[in-house]
Structure formats: structure tokens, C-alpha cells
Symmetry: C2
Subunit: 210 residues, 2 copies
DNA sequence: ACACAAAGTCACCAATCAGTGACAAATAAA
DNA sequence: TTTATTTGTCACTGATTGGTGACTTTGTGT
């Protein structure tokens, strides 16, 4: 057994800061962004709320710091070499969207961040969004635009719809929704149907808009 | 000018109930569902919060009652006669989805209800969802399924993605987001691109899955 | 005019919230 | 060991929240 009758805690600023950041993630995942109150966070972190003011300048600073540390689109900015693409990126993009579809499904924290972004105006969320766009723009310009040429705008709009749909269906299925168009989004078979449709729609975009 | 030095209000229960329901809609539209506090609603309605308890049994009852009165899918359950359909419903469905895309864009209250539904588990929201599904099922069964036959599941999955995308893009554009895949969803030109893509994708579904 | 019920207001309570100053405990420097 | 700084706790304030009992005002029926 441990040797401290009176529980003593190692004091470390960076460590404590991380505990607050972790608490934010945990609360977000389990209770949603509306539960991100300063008392709740302090209790979850097991530290005093005063430290949030000392270390982050308040709740806003802590939340912004948390958002800054997040990176949910790492799979999108995978080190791809445009030269190696021979099919206009069809396979790469299909795989990326399918991966993202499953990733959103698995990662509840990401779901809540997406929801948070749809719900509350906030500079750091806006910045997160801009960074995501910047990542996507790389793929769009270097891979899709060169392939679709004068149809690139149409292809972008189609991709926007498909990717958005993949996001929405996962958020929808999580709360208050089981089926969409009669498809059970949380079931294995339902998800496979959606995935098949994603691949099919992208395929159609590539053939029709060429 | 009015004749009352001391402002006297006509006392009417049904009238007051409606004022509360209107207040809920107004707050939802302007501040989002998280601002639906009992004090806020009472102030907005210009009545005492006690009446919310008297008339609706509390905040929950009022919110449930509000949700019950909403019907955002009236254009979907338009009186359509399956017999009159000759193209498998392609034109009808395309128009319906395009209408819905613009309707969500215009109707901020509907946007907030959609967001609410994605955010908070609630029986009345679940019921609203089920009713929407039931409406959609009519179209799916009587129009699409007969046309797509053995491909009906694939067609449903594709429609789910397209409709979901139309919802998500509007929610996305409203808060923290300007562009998605480089398309400005709130601009006239951007929306036309999305609409073109919606029509194109549905067209492709109809030709490819037949 | 009167009584009575319905409609509505108000003052109050308890719980929860953000924020802060005073203090205690641990660590590092001397 | 002593001193000083950092790290952390605690108790308190003031504002906001949901909820309720006692009250006043209005309308209605006799």
C-alpha cells in the first residue's frame, strides 16, 4: 500500500493544465458542450477552479486552448503525392470519406465537437473550421480540380454533399434518431448500405463529370 | 391613444398558453435551445413563470407541447398520387429535396429544432423524428421502391446521404462556417452549385440504379 | 351588488453558477 | 535550515437559476 496517510499530490503546473484539458474532453464526450461549466470542469479534473483562472485566464481561455489541441482530420492530410495518382484520386478520396464516416461514428468526442461547432459561434471553432478547409483545399486543388477541369465546381459541390451527409447521419443516429430513410445508421448492415452508397455516388461523380 | 392609464391585460388562458408557445419559438430562433430557461421564457412571453407550471406542468411540458405543434415537413407529405408518376418520381423527389434545402436555409427556427434534435435526447423530439420517418416512408415505398425494385436499398442509402448533406450544409453555414469544400453555402452562386449537384446526384442514382 | 372561481403577480427559498481574496502546503533557492 | 516562490485549497460574495405559497386582480354567474 502507498505510504501517505494524508494524501499528498505532486504539484506540477503543466500536469495540472493537462488535467483540465483532459477534463474538458471527458465532459464533452459524456455530457456535451453545454455541460462545460467551470465548476464541473474543476470537479472533474480534481483541482480547484481558481487554477483555471490562473492558468488559462478563465473558462474561455481553457476551451480555446482545448480546441487548439484538437486535430480530427489527420487522416485527410495524409502524405499523399499527387504524382502517384492515376485515377484522378477516385480511390483515395473514396477511402478517405469512408474512413471519415467510420471515424465520426466511433469517436464520440469528435461528434460533440462537430455539434459544438454547429451550435456556438466561437473564434477558436471558426479557426478549427478554417484549418479543416485549408487541408481539404490541398486535396481539392491538387487532385480533383486537375482531373475535373471545367467541371471542378460541380465535383466540389457533389463532394460537399456526400461528406456532409456522412457527418450528419452519424450525428443524427446518435441522438433521437434510429433510422433515416428506413436505414438503421447504427447497425452494421445499415452502415454498409451507406458506405456502398458513398462509393457509388463518388464513382458516378467521377464518370459523369469527366 | 389607448384609454388605460394603468395597463390592464385581458385575461385568457388559451391566449396566454399561446404566448408561452410563441416565446419558445422566438427564443429558439434567436438564442438556440440552450436558452430555453423558464425565467427567460416567462420574461419573453411577458407573463409570470408560475403560469408555465399551472398550464403545462413545468418547462418540460411546455417544450413538449411546443414540439408537438411543429410541422416542418408539410411540403414532403404533399398530396401526391403515385398513379400520376411516370418517371419513378425523379422529378418530384428532386423538387422536394431542393425545396427542403432552401426551406432549411430560410427558416432559422427549423434550423434550431434540427440542432436541438441532434443535441438533446427527448421523447417528443424522438416522436417528431419518427413522424418524419413515417412521412418519408410513404414516398419511399410507394414511389421509389417500386421503381428501383431490387436496388431500392441502395437508392434509399443514396437519398439519405443527399438529404442529410442538404441539412448539414445549411447548419454548417449558419455558425462558424463560411465555405465547405471551397463553396460559400450562404451565397447565391454557392447555393446554386449545391442545388445543381443535388439534381445531378439524384439523376445519377435514377439512371445508374435502374 | 355580491360571492366565487379563474387568471395572474409577487416575494421568497434553495440550489447552482462564476469569480475572488485570504490562506495553507509544497517546492525551489538561499 | 531558512526564505521565497510556486502551487493549490477554501470560504465567501453576488448573480442567476428553478420552483412554490400567499396574495391580488379580473371575469362570471346569481
Amino acid at each position: 500500500m502507498e505510504d501517505n496517510p494524508v494524501k499528498t499530490r505532486i504539484r506540477n503546473k503543466e500536469n495540472s493544465k493537462q488535467q483540465f484539458l483532459d477534463a474538458v474532453g471527458k465532459i464533452l464526450k459524456t455530457q456535451g458542450y453545454s455541460a462545460l461549466k467551470i465548476n464541473n470542469i474543476a470537479t472533474t479534473a480534481g483541482l480547484d477552479k481558481k487554477l483555471i483562472y490562473n492558468y488559462f485566464g478563465g473558462l474561455e481561455g481553457l476551451l480555446d486552448e482545448y480546441i487548439k489541441t484538437q486535430d480530427f482530420w489527420s487522416n485527410v492530410k495524409s502524405e499523399i503525392e499527387p504524382n502517384e495518382i492515376t485515377d484522378g484520386g477516385k480511390e483515395f478520396i473514396t477511402n478517405t470519406v469512408l474512413e471519415q464516416f467510420d471515424y465520426v461514428f466511433r469517436n464520440k468526442e469528435f461528434q460533440k465537437v462537430l455539434l459544438w461547432r454547429l451550435s456556438e459561434p466561437r473564434n477558436s471553432l471558426k479557426k478549427l473550421t478554417d484549418e479543416q478547409e485549408a487541408n481539404g483545399e490541398f486535396i481539392l486543388q491538387n487532385i480533383m480540380d486537375t482531373y475535373f477541369a471545367e467541371n471542378s465546381e460541380d465535383s466540389r459541390a457533389a463532394m460537399a454533399l456526400i461528406v456532409s451527409g456522412a457527418y450528419y447521419l452519424n450525428l443524427y443516429a446518435e441522438i433521437n434518431g434510429n433510422t433515416f430513410c428506413g436505414i438503421d445508421i447504427k447497425s452494421e448492415t445499415g452502415r454498409n448500405q451507406i458506405k456502398k452508397a458513398i462509393a457509388m455516388l463518388i464513382e458516378q461523380v467521377y464518370t459523369f463529370l469527366k
